[in-house]
Amino acid sequence: MKKIWAWGALVFGLLYFTLPLIGMTNFSLKMRRGEYSFDAYQKVFADPRFQETFTYSVMQALFTILFGVLLVVPTAYWVRLKLPRLRPVIEFITLLPLVIPAIVIVFGYIRLYNTSSWLPLTGSLTGTNILLMFGYATLALPYMYRAVDTGLRTIDVATLTEAAQSLGAGWATILAKIILPNVLVAVLSGAFLTFAIVIGEFTMAALLNRPAFGPYMQLLGANRAYEPAALAVIAFGITWGCLGLIQLVSRFQKSAPPKA
């Protein structure tokens, strides 16, 4: 009897999740009257704004990942090695972007870094792009930090560090040659999550007036019928592709399986 309820809950959950997706995909293929076609997808891909905004967001995502790795890996490593008592504090700080809405963060940025501030980042395109990248890094912080911290938990950070030190290695060598390669799978997990977040983010990019993929999706949704559905399917495809890549790279870990 219990099994029937379990199966029932599972089927309900799957339908709840997949039916809207199936409906949306079905709708996106119905641009040509009376038959299924990829017309909506062709229109989206042919739109120069799609290429521009997608390229912009991909570049932003790559820089965000780079910045996130450079910020989070040394921080998480140092906290584990030297400041274990501060771990709850750091965890709390990294969780803040989940409870502070993006709109609050971006208004704070605009207020702090406007053209009349001591650091007028919004006064130039490059400055605004950098500001947006920082904003994305903040939004991705909970995911990146957790992924890296989990990776660090699977290795004996203190002993490996001491072993490398006794062999003459300095901090930069230890981080680059020992720590980073051993948490690479975790870093890649965080990187793909960051990529998915950046590709779909709307609020920050819209309020900083940058040509990102999120605002383009919103703009298209407000003016077209079939293309937004096609774009949503593409966005889902990108996110799932990232999740698939996380699974894939996990299998390429050369070192020992993580400790239980």
């Binding site: 490398a164 006794s166 062999l167 290695a169 070192s255």
Partner: protein, 353 residues
């Protein structure tokens, strides 16, 4: 002048004093073991030599150079850890080559040195394996090769055999000693296993509560322990409590029996309490056993250990353990038997606190 010198080393973690006034001089090429129970400060001293901990006060000098201000990566010290600490992302070759690469050694020289080191530990055929593909013993041998590949001034071994099974421990400790002697590396070995320390060391430092209770050769440590702690921790010495009867004659009363020590008892007077120690192999209850001293007692228990039989004998208020070789023709004593233990007076040691 000694090669490695530890002078008045003290270490405190907050209000807890872990090492008190530790002094030690180690000669070049010497193999010294720090022996003691958990928490006695032996690993802390080792970590201070490595530079992972800073002494609260005191001086560490290696080859005439003060080490206190040097970072761990500037000390040229090889270290082997209990948990192996091989880099999981590197294969055996790269692990051994790591220190050489960090030092900027050119590739051909690095490869030659790695080959030489792997030959030394007899693992040339496993150069391409990753650490998780090796057994514990193999991992620790690679860790040893990695530590000595950089030609360190001093090799530090932090309980390197503790995580291994008994058979591997014995073979690997012999291998470590052989390699150490072959290369002439000054080595400090930390262990809580007295058999390990006795079997491979030139000298042993027995540590107790942050202090060096006794420093000596394995022979000295085992045969003439200077404190009650050393006597009880090293080997299986039996401690016998008695009262000085006549210090000049070396006479001591144990229970209601009186024996005479080899020498007069200095610094004590009649009626003072005295602690004596007797090694298990020093006494015998066999018919016609030799010995100028005898103590009568009651057998408490007998343990059959294969080649020897360990018997525990109650004498006065103490229990004395002694071993005798297994003789299939002679039945071992049983509990309740009254026997006489004979031994030489020279084997009875006076223990100072």
């Amino acid at each position: 002048m000694s090669f490695l010198s530890l002078t008045s080393i003290k270490k405190s973690f907050g209000p807890v004093h872990v090492v008190h006034d530790f002094n030690m001089d180690i000669e070049k090429g010497e193999f010294v073991s720090f022996l003691g129970p958990s928490g006695c400060g032996k690993t802390t001293v080792l970590r201070m030599i490595a530079g992972f901990e800073s002494p609260t006060s005191g001086k560490i000098v290696i080859n005439g150079r003060d080490q206190n201000s040097l970072k761990p990566n500037q000390r040229n010290i090889g270290m082997v850890f209990q948990a192996y600490a091989l880099f999981p992302n590197m294969n055996v070759h790269d692990n051994v080559a790591f220190g050489l690469k960090v030092a900027g050694t050119d590739k051909s020289e690095t490869d030659a040195r790695v080959k030489q080191m792997l030959g030394l530990i007899k693992l040339e055929h496993l150069a391409d394996r990753f650490p998780y593909q090796l057994s514990g013993g193999q991992q620790q041998r690679v860790a040893l090769a990695r530590a000595i590949a950089v030609k360190p001034q001093v090799l530090l071994l932090d309980e390197p055999l503790s995580a291994l099974d008994a058979k591997i421990r014995v073979s690997l400790r012999e291998e470590i000693r052989q390699i150490q002697q072959q290369l002439g590396i000054t080595t400090v070995f930390v262990t809580h296993d007295q058999e390990e320390a006795l079997s491979i060391s030139d000298r042993i430092v027995v540590m107790n509560a942050g202090r060096a209770d006794q420093i000596g050769t394995p022979f000295e440590i085992y045969n003439t322990p200077s404190t009650r702690f050393v006597a009880s921790f090293v080997g299986t010495l039996s401690i016998i409590e008695g009262k000085v009867a006549d210090p000049a004659a070396g006479a001591v009363t144990i229970g209601n029996q009186q024996i005479a020590l080899k020498d007069p008892i200095a610094g004590m007077k009649g009626g003072d309490s005295i602690s004596l120690a007797l090694r298990p192999e020093a006494g015998s209850i066999a018919e016609g056993a030799k010995g100028d001293t005898a103590l009568a007692g009651e057998v408490v228990s007998t343990s059959f250990l294969g080649s020897v039989i360990r018997t525990r004998l109650r004498v006065g208020g103490d229990v004395i353990s002694f071993d005798m070789f297994n003789n299939p023709g002679v039945a071992p004593p049983v509990s309740g038997d009254n026997v006489t233990l004979r031994f030489a007076a020279k084997d009875l040691l006076v223990i100072r606190e």
